[in-house]
Symmetry: C2
Subunit: 325 residues, 2 copies
Amino acid sequence: METLPLPFEKALVTGAAGFIGSHLCDRLLQAGIDVVGFDNLSTGREEFLSGALGDPRFRLVRGDTQDPAALEEAMRGRQFVFHLAANADVRFGLQHPRRDLEQNTLATFNALEAARRAGVKGFAFSSTGSVYGEPAVHPTPEDAPFPVQTSLYGASKLAGEGLVQAYAEGFGMRGFVFRFVSILGERYSHGHVFDFHRKLRADPSRLEVLGNGRQRKSYLYVQDCVDAIFPALARAEGGLNTFNLGTDEACEVDDSVGWICEAMGLKPEILHTGGERGWVGDSPFILLDTSRIRALGWKPSLSIREGVLKTLRYLRDNPWLLEKR
Amino acid sequence: METLPLPFEKALVTGAAGFIGSHLCDRLLQAGIDVVGFDNLSTGREEFLSGALGDPRFRLVRGDTQDPAALEEAMRGRQFVFHLAANADVRFGLQHPRRDLEQNTLATFNALEAARRAGVKGFAFSSTGSVYGEPAVHPTPEDAPFPVQTSLYGASKLAGEGLVQAYAEGFGMRGFVFRFVSILGERYSHGHVFDFHRKLRADPSRLEVLGNGRQRKSYLYVQDCVDAIFPALARAEGGLNTFNLGTDEACEVDDSVGWICEAMGLKPEILHTGGERGWVGDSPFILLDTSRIRALGWKPSLSIREGVLKTLRYLRDNPWLLEKR
């Protein structure tokens, strides 16, 4: 996809050592942007930045989004902030109700407030299709009916969106909200392909699948996700822009299970835990309407199946990711 | 209005000494409910609870919503929580960006988490029509298009709603979200009628009005607001219910100015500061669709004009409210 010129030269990426963040750093550097990466390396991996760290225009700051002063210090002189640092586990909120609040809502407030104090003029936020809860409309557009949250994760990201919007309106900062489906691809280190791959390596004879396997989900390849940044930032107008990012297809969980088993050459017994949802708060059908970002010239290059297979090859080639840290 | 039986006997009200909270305490006591009031008395007034404090079924706990342990302790043995404590100033968020986050978002999290730990089964939350931002649809229904926040206040209340929803879904707590327009009536101690009344007492010759005076707003009388609790809690089904509360009319700011000046017998020069909005983030047109709560048997008893005049009489009879504390 064409790399459009971005309206800034110096950016900061929180969650820079994460799955999506590290790809974003790579792509920004390729586009000639000077990048400060900010990460506490709690779930991020310095290995993911091995390319970026060799680039003189990249600098990694080891810092925490719970530390407002560290954020502000790192943002000095930056023109644009990509806030990707987050607790990305949608499933386990009920086991530790404060985690999404702190790592998502409060972290986003801290990042916005640091950006404002540091004079940063633009702010992009990685939100999620989970903010739609169980949407009444599929494919779900950005202006779908007022949602009802079903998870603490979704609630924490919705709160983050509201903060980005209020900062954009109140302080004249340009705001970008990207609502992702689940992302797949190189450096993927948590999620269903990761879990299934790990379980099947441990026991190729059986595979437990949460729910009835009929949940319909949408997935997007990480390079396609990062691609969307360019047309969004270069072409969108207005102070606050919100974009869904996803493929225009959904697959059933059992479809993905089939692709994974086939690629691994396995025929395990599939054990469904049952129920329409994989866990309390799981959305049984996610499919986002992406016509808004498509109208700016973006489209994904890989289908869900291609993304799953690419992810699987990556996991096979990087067994170190399965090791406990 | 008929007082329907509520599905609990012991309740806790945060913000019990506040404008709406104190009326709610009075009404719950009248309905035979045993009430614990929780308030830090920072903006609440013990005077507002003079009736409640004489009732043996009422107990006031002086505590802060930033103190999770105090909340949990006070909620022990309660079956239902009304969380009304909040920073209720929509206008001044930009001057202290953390205040709405702390007093609204974090306070709501603290109240929910305390309720969960204390085994409370139901939770009602005072939200606001401000969560609709600048709505595309008027009158605005509860399922209006996905909103864009224009104020830190709206963002903090939206975040609170998301938390109530996620707790309802995740922990099986019944959740009630009430989106109020501005409330008027006895014990009213901040807002436009208060400000105009105070300014006109200080200088009857002139009155500064924010914006162009053409902003259309909806207001609701506090007794009508508290009335809505009963049909909502007694008749609504499902785990999570959201209700708009307001009159089915909007008035222009200048209409209200006219009623106030007439009632005070004054003809001041009106000085508009100009612009469609009273302040950055102000919504120039608020009118909520209340058919959902009306379908359960509720309707307001007073028009906006009647509410304004009643408020003005109250302010005239209670000059102590104008004194600095």
